[in-house]
């Protein structure tokens, strides 16, 4: 059961969008996907069909990490509410703002293993686990990384966002961090999102990423499309933006499958 974290220290770069697109394509291929919303903002939860008030009386990732048992994680499982074809094989672990409270546990020894403790015993129940993370490089990201086998960096072709990816890679590869947190994950991809054609900066940043990461950059890049944003507003998968986006996620998932094989 490969566990993959989607991350960037920078916000608004399409992390959640990527998790949605990859989840939808994997589910379409018949794989059982667990999508974990590890962002207190709960964007992924909202886009998979759950407003914050609907989660008021239900356990979420915050309780699961607090109790750090697979049972607690299971108690939070919800069906994705997209159209059947996309959603059927997707299970959501939703998030609410209370996840912020887990950050205060960062100093507790081994607290960074708490998501891993929830997830590891579920091996076999899912074919893929995708973790959507908040724009931080702190405790919540550590929870995700410790639980993960793989990491995908999501970025826009802009300076600050690309820097976020460099920092992420350095963090994951830093020997002290790996030993201190007990990381086993490695970077398997960088996806470029919201690229605009004919914008010199965007082309330069894309080149720089390819120079630095080579093969790790997964083509094709996802262009900036109003239809993608519309889909997310309507709480639909990005694939509803049309055949172009569907093809992009098919290609990306091909790369993903190769990497986790």
């Amino acid at each position: 059961m490969p566990v993959t974290t989607f991350a960037n220290h920078k916000g608004g770069v399409g992390k959640s969008n990527e998790v949605e697109g990859v989840a939808a394509e994997l589910a379409m291929r018949g794989r059982r996907v667990l999508a974990v919303d590890l962002d207190p903002q709960g964007n992924l939860s909202r886009r998979m069909g759950y407003q914050e008030h609907e989660l008021e009386t239900r356990p979420t990732i915050a309780e699961a990490v607090r109790d750090h048992t697979p049972k607690a994680l299971r108690a939070s499982f919800l069906p994705c509410q997209w159209e059947q074809d996309w959603a059927e094989n997707i299970t959501l672990v939703p998030s609410r703002i209370e996840l912020e409270e887990r950050i205060s546990e960062a100093g507790v020894p081994l607290s960074w293993q708490r998501l891993h403790k929830c997830l590891a015993p579920l091996a076999g129940d899912f074919d893929d686990v995708l973790i959507d993370t908040p724009p931080t490089i702190g405790h919540l990201l550590h929870l995700a990384l410790v639980a993960s086998d793989y990491v995908v960096g999501a970025t826009t072709p802009t300076y600050d966002s690309v820097r976020g990816i460099y920092r992420l890679k350095n963090f994951i590869e830093n020997e002290d961090q790996r030993a201190g947190l007990g990381l086993r994950c490695r970077m398997i991809g960088v996806v470029i999102n919201m690229k605009r054609a004919g914008v010199a900066n965007h082309d330069q940043r894309t080149e720089a990423l390819i120079t630095r990461f080579g093969d790790l950059v997964w083509p094709p890049h996802l262009p900036l499309r109003a239809s993608v944003e519309d889909a997310s507003e309507r709480a639909e998968p990005p694939q509803n933006a049309g055949p172009e986006v569907q093809q992009i996620f098919r290609d990306r998932v091909d790369r993903y499958m190769k990497a986790v094989a």
Partner: protein
């Protein structure tokens, strides 16, 4: 999303849920989930109360645990004294700041709510015909207190940057300056009148009630009307002096109860209400 929603699984065990973040956080128990419904306005925006959205109680920083610490045993006697006096000074300041903050909180919260209830005549929903009856019976507030709250709100609206501890007489004076404009429906002019008097008083170096009155005269404002602008200008005292006579003859008064018990009950209510009103307006003995 389209069509029917996929059903949500039941939550099997009761799970302790922490809701909210920071000092306002609460702990709840998970419910058996109900079918999801479209969000109502209250779901997404909090509870709507007469035009204002009240989300959650304001978090005021009130220390809950004492902060006492013994002075270090090997400190000199001088140092010990300094240490303990610092504790007293700090606590005193905390209490005073807290009291001011609480007073402001109370005024600007309860006062504003009272204004809305009065202006919207919302007290009628309970069957009260007078706002002051409502305030007295629902909240056990003497009329003057409610009145001060509302006047302070009015003054605060005109002088949001001023954070003094208002006295009744100050807010009454400033409020009365705005009154003619307010009752003509021109609150902006009321604000302006209040600001003008306040600025003058500051200029003259005295913002006490007395100073404000002098400032009002200096800017040529009208003389303030008494509390709650007594509409009836004719002296009413003789009326009451005549009316109270028969009440002083207790024997005959008791006979009322024998002649007509129901009327006696009515009379008791009337007298009690009158008593409350009179007390509220009278200087405390």
């Amino acid at each position: 999303m389209s069509g029917k929603r996929r059903p949500l699984p039941d939550v099997e065990d009761e799970i302790v849920l922490e809701r909210g973040v920071g000092p306002g956080a609460v702990v709840e128990k998970s419910d058996a989930p109900t079918a999801p419904t479209a969000p109502t306005a209250a779901d997404t925006a909090g509870v709507e109360i007469v035009g204002r959205v009240v989300k959650s109680p304001v978090a005021l920083d009130i220390p809950t645990a004492p902060q006492f610490e013994l002075a270090s045993p090997d400190a000199s006697r001088d140092a010990q004294l300094v240490h303990y006096e610092n504790l007293i000074g700090g606590a005193k300041e905390a209490v005073e700041t807290g009291a001011r903050a609480l007073d402001r909180y109370w005024t600007l919260t309860a006062g504003r709510a009272l204004v809305e209830i009065r202006d919207g005549k919302l007290y009628e929903l309970y069957g009260y015909t007078s706002f002051m009856d409502y305030v007295a019976q629902r909240w056990g507030m003497v009329r003057q207190h409610a009145y001060k709250l509302m006047r302070t709100v009015r003054v605060q609206q005109a002088l949001p940057e001023v954070t003094v501890d208002w006295t009744v007489r100050q807010v009454d004076l400033l409020g009365s300056v705005a009154e003619p404009h307010d009752s003509a429906g021109d609150e902006a002019a009321g604000d302006k009148a209040i600001r003008e008097v306040w600025a003058k008083a500051e200029e003259l170096g005295d913002t006490s009630a007395k100073g404000l009155d002098a400032a009002r005269k200096a800017v040529g404002g009208e003389a303030p009307k008494a509390l709650e602008a007594v509409k009836e200008r004719k002296p009413v005292l003789p009326v009451y002096q005549r009316a109270v006579k028969p009440f002083q003859d207790f024997r005959r008064l008791r006979q009322v109860a024998i002649e007509n018990p129901e009327y006696a009950v009515e009379l008791i209510k009337t007298l009690e209400a009158a008593l409350n009103e009179l007390r509220a307006e009278s200087p405390t003995p």
